[in-house]
Symmetry: C2
């Protein structure tokens, strides 16, 4: 049926990457380039009494030393402008920058930083969001420490609990998690390049967000700031605000010195400065009838926002929408909160507020099943969303196939869930014990009612029939370039090797917001399709005039163009050439805006997303009862993606997501102690390696979505959000012990609690 | 009436240029960059017997040595592929490249070139197009030396001459002319940059033409080749094919070495290699009634194409259209020819085939007037084109105001022509004698029936109301960026300081052909206007929905948007912001295709251009009869431009064009002797300096053209094409001596002929 999509096309950036030609931020060199470095507070809460930069200025090779007073607009922030380019009077967390330098070498820059004298007055800090809730504002200009409070309301939970036969209440907790991208943050700012005030190159996840920050900081027009994305060594939501702040700093130094300035974080700097996935403290209460029908849920989830609001307002909104999971629950009351603390700040990370609540909710479902004496599969099948179901927010699911039952069936069958569940339910002896656990989810695709969900793509057919294409969304390593080329190639009926996809660049790309929320294929892909359709229409109309055939219904396939009855008219390349020489417009902007959605913040109800994806992951684990070590043996991961644009890349997303979920579940934790971070490199911050990789069984479920390009929807985040919950449930079965706090590392599995903290202070 | 257009806005690139921040090709530095150099034949006609590059390869620091056999496709050329990237067997002119190197420094490159051993067999060359006409083909694969033959036919010249009272026949001749851009050619090729096979940066006049050449040479898709224009230090038609060849060479070296390669010509290399303005030999025959009505003209013009066809086919086509000047002539027979020789090749230069025929025809008109005993003004006024006139090619001029009479009136009044003509007609004594001479022209705007005349522009409104804009046409120093920003600002009612115009770049700009033929303002400007109109329409429709007002007729002015009755709705910036957050498409491609035109090559008739501009220049000169020195005292230059988008920049074009016309008229000549060039630098090739500048009286005549953006049309070339003829006519009046060969330098004015040649061989 398809020629290019739904096929395992080779990544368009494969050649560059495997030959080492792909330029990452660190590879960038410019004539006369200087090196920028930031002096960080390295304490979580303090007042700056004085900064003396005179010695630094006097060092040969130092071109600029700047402090907050040199910044045109020092307040930045993606939603709330509570963050400072450089700390002016207050230090809010250990990563705050106090001063910065640009020097001819990294050595000179380091020497300059050392010579800057800062006098601090240490202040007490707040490191627990629940303490923060009751405390005076950390940010003096804010009324309270509450960053945000979202609610969701359905029915009447009091009546729901009253009608329940069984009610259980549980508390769950999750940890700070590092994005662990392989490439630390790096930007180069080049001043006055071709009519721009400043150009930012580097490992930028969201070129438009970074542009917003730099334009604000410099008080400049957006169109004077160019942000160009290089090849990026991973992001996972992480190279956004932290890179924007870095870009502001580099831009300031570049304009001050009139030289290109490179800023690259070391791994330690990256871990100390960059925002993390939010730790959540969650209280869940659920009521059900004795035959397992859910009657009511009441949830309170508190996120530690750290020092700055960053994306806490949006992260916690996704949590409020998805907190009850993919279940029909007649009565729901959910509240999510974010509070400021003096911890490292928290923001977007793959999952974006869902892994926390899924860990809680899917643990809870197993606990409820146990209470009811039914299996985890049974409780889920009794309550899952189906076609026509109404979600907790009151949205009727009637625009797409609600395929959760199918997804669960495929996952359970693939891993042999039912037999293994029975097997492992029998009493086990010895040190090595096994369990199997499942977790399911529904996930709203794209930004949802968080923000406008529009994306643009420019597609231009050249006179030899080759095509260039660029998008407002950015490759983050996930394969966006390849998927977009496949979509364009399919629509134009050409070989995708003739398509060149450009790097994201704010001065050429239509502002399409951010490459986040697994929205690229769905929203961006639709804009690519739209652009290709416009170009195809222009060519068709030209050919209609040339050949006296109807413009509608021409078939573009195999690099040729045919009449509806299959007669070849002309090759695509010849058609492009003829059209060009006839003056036909062959460059087109494609634009896509997501269907209307809405959210009533006051009532806590609405249609938050226009479509959803459904996933089921099942983990089979072996636990060493003597050491607490958990080995994940098998992991079935079934995801309904609408349509797989590129099945191989999609499997890659599944493999990566499963591993990230595994790390989240049993290993990863940024250990903080009163704002200090103990593990600032990968010697102590443990992430999964290939040795930890289970046998992953990726299962692609396809129910084409009428809103998706060729039916496709998201896969970036759903693959990550289920692993921790599934593993926790498996461990519970294996050990008989329910652990409600992530990660389920050796100590927690063995002792039920982590070892004492206290290693962070330096 | 206007807010931004028709006003003397500051150039948008002024700041960059005056602060030295503007990066020209020579300023470019890339990490690991190598230097490319070409070994040139330095003889006009030879066979290559052998090339030995072994010694060069062995020199430390030499990264690549390449010859023709290393070139995937060695045959390039904009119209006919008769040019070689590197000479394979035959040398056709002194500038031919034989081998090239890439080395770590210019010194090493020079050493490498010296060590290459080439054995030539000298062959006889052909250096006169009239000899070439009768000779065996220079290019063995061609049937003859005729590059092209164009004709134009109207009425019956035999009958026309039979009905004439006076018939005169004259021969005129023009010279090779160097473009004399201040910056010699330079390109840098960067391999494998962001998904492109190769990126070319540099002083490229026409990014798409250079892309065509490089893609052909490398046998690659157009969309894999990126050509980016830097700031350019003048071009005047000159940085086209010669830079394309250079780009091919740099690209080959870059791909061979996998390093960026810079190639920059010295001035000597530039003058030896680059193509020139065509020398013409012209025979004119004209018949008129005794009261001065033109009855018939018969013209034969032969262009020296030099070694390669280059743009000779198109240059001679403009000549054939304009050879009879802006006159109504009932019977016309014109033939223009181009022949290959072994001289330096010839191509596009400001004027493009018009300065030669205007020099001849306007000299001829004065000679005819003298014969008839009437004044130069009288003969012109009796015969000039008016509204509804039919041109020599049979085109009825009824789409725009044919304003020649007005243009002539303004010029003659401004300089006091009639009084001075009378004054200088009286006998003069002494060494210093004065004369006044006029020349008039009509000039087809844009490419005409030469090629498709389409152009595209992308305009994107950002969410703060600032705008970026880029075009398929390229700034060549003429002020295109500024004019385009003015057009967009006018249509959107915003301050042009909020618009950022990008450098031309083939991977982002819609292919709009070449920045030639004075088509930028007219064709490119229309595409900018179209893009701005599309964006404005999108905003209007959005606002209509928001404010319940009709979308049509909203007024965009002073950075605000008003209802038709003048009520302010919203500021432009707020409207942009609201529209962005509502998902409105704010990026638009504007496209413009010139109205239908045609040319019947067989019949020599047609509507070659869709509109014309009209000009009149009048020169007042003083001639030193003892030395032959000509001083141009005053120069009135009146040009109907439709509408001046930027009157100050337009005057700049007039000043520059007048000076270039002056150089062409009395100074400049590339002295060739059997293919060798004598004057390869500005010590011997004399161009006008500020000391030679006359009192220039620029006169802008505005008759808005319905086809132009805000009524505007061209000015780039018309300003240059009249000077030589006007000066020649003034000298004839001053000296009583008619010189029919350019330049009218000391020797010709004093002796009637140039000094003997013979200085070129080295």
């Amino acid at each position: 049926m398809f020629s290019t999509v739904n096929k395992p096309a080779e990544r368009v950036d494969a050649y560059e990457k495997v030959t080492g030609r792909a330029k990452y931020g660190a590879d960038l060199q410019f004539a006369g380039m200087l090196y920028g470095k930031v002096l960080r507070a390295k304490q979580p809460s303090a007042r700056i009494k004085s900064i003396n930069v005179e010695k630094a200025r006097a060092i040969p090779g130092v071109w600029a030393v700047m402090t907050a007073q040199d910044v045109p607009c020092n307040e930045i922030g993606v939603i709330i402008q509570d963050q400072q380019v450089l700390a002016k009077e207050r230090i809010y967390y250990i990563g705050d920058g106090v001063a910065m330098v640009a020097a001819e070498s990294l050595d000179v820059a380091a020497k300059a930083l050392e010579s800057i004298e800062v006098e601090y007055e240490e202040m007490g800090g707040i490191f627990d969001p629940l303490v923060s809730k009751e405390s005076d504002p950390i940010h003096p200009e804010r009324a309270s420490n509450e960053v945000v409070h979202h609610k969701l309301r359905k029915g009447n939970v009091d009546e729901g609990f009253a009608g329940s036969d069984v009610i259980i209440e549980r508390e769950y907790e999750t940890q700070f998690v590092e994005h662990s991208y392989i490439e630390p943050e790096v930007v180069v700012a080049v001043p006055h390049e071709n009519g721009s005030l400043v150009t930012i190159y580097g490992s930028v996840q969201n070129v438009f967000a970074t542009r917003d920050a730099v334009a604000r900081c410099l008080k400049a027009d957006l169109s004077k700031i160019r942000v160009v994305q290089n090849h990026i060594g991973g992001s996972f939501g992480g190279k956004d605000e932290v890179v924007s702040a870095m870009a502001c700093r580099a831009a300031l130094l570049a304009l001050k010195t009139d030289r290109p300035v490179k800023m690259a974080n070391t791994r330690e700097e990256s871990i100390v400065e960059s925002y993390k996935r939010h730790p959540y403290k969650m209280k869940y209460k659920v009521g059900a009838t004795k035959d397992g029908k859910l009657m009511a849920m009441e949830i309170e989830a508190v996120a530690d926002g750290g020092a700055y609001a960053c994306q806490t307002p949006f992260v916690t909104w996704r949590s409020v929408v998805q907190a009850t999971g993919p279940y029909e629950v007649p009565n729901v009351k959910t509240d999510t909160y974010g509070y400021y603390t003096n911890n490292v700040y928290t923001g977007a990370m793959r999952g974006y507020g869902s892994p926390q609540v899924i860990f809680a909710n899917e643990s809870l479902m197993d606990e409820l099943a146990q209470e009811l004496g039914i299996t985890p599969l049974e409780i889920r099948l009794k309550n899952i969303l189906k076609n026509g179901s109404v979600t907790a927010s009151g949205q009727k699911l009637d625009r797409h196939e609600v395929s959760l039952a199918e997804v669960m069936k495929k996952a359970t069958e693939a891993i042999g869930y039912e037999e293994k569940y029975k097997e492992y339910s029998k009493p086990q002896r010895g040190d090595k014990r096994r369990g199997i656990g499942m977790a399911i989810s529904f996930r709203g695709c794209s930004l949802g009612a968080e923000a406008v969900d529009g994306a643009g793509t420019v597609l231009s057919i050249q006179k030899d029939g080759s095509v260039y294409l660029y998008s407002g969304l950015a490759e983050n390593g996930q394969g966006l370039k390849t998927a977009f080329c496949q979509i364009a190639a399919e629509e134009l009926g050409i070989d995708m090797k003739h398509i060149t996809f450009l790097e994201a660049n704010t001065l050429i790309s239509p502002d399409s917001g951010s490459t986040v929320a697994s929205r690229s294929t769905l929203v961006g892909g639709n804009s690519v399709l739209n652009a290709a359709m416009r170009a195809r229409k222009a060519l068709s109309e030209f050919l209609a005039g040339q050949y006296n055939v109807p413009a509608e219904g021409l078939i573009f396939k195999d690099s040729n163009i045919f009449t509806p009855d299959g007669k070849k008219l002309i090759s695509f390349a010849e058609a492009a050439n003829k059209a060009f020489w006839a003056g036909v417009q062959l460059s087109h902007v494609g634009w896509y805006v997501a269907p209307s959605i809405h959210w009533d913040e006051e009532e806590g109800r609405g249609n938050p997303y226009f479509t959803y994806v459904y996933g089921c992951q099942i983990a089979e684990v072996e636990v060493d009862m003597g050491t607490g070590e958990v080995t994940v043996l098998n992991m079935a991961a079934a995801h309904d993606v609408g349509r797989a644009i590129n099945p191989e890349m999609l499997k890659g997303q599944i493999y990566g997501g499963v591993m990230m979920g595994l790390g989240y579940g049993i290993m990863e934790e940024v250990e903080t102690d009163e704002g200090y971070i103990a593990n600032t490199n990968f010697d102590e911050y443990i992430i999964p390696t290939s040795k930890d990789m289970p046998n992953i069984i990726p299962i692609i479920v396809e129910n084409p979505d009428p809103d998706g390009p060729f039916g496709a929807k998201s896969i970036g985040e759903p693959t990550l959000e289920l692993g921790a919950a599934a593993i926790a449930n498996a461990i519970a079965q294996a050990t008989g012990r329910r652990i409600r706090s992530l990660p389920l590392n050796l100590e927690r599995v063995l002792l039920g609690h982590p070892l004492k903290k206290g290693r962070g202070r330096k």
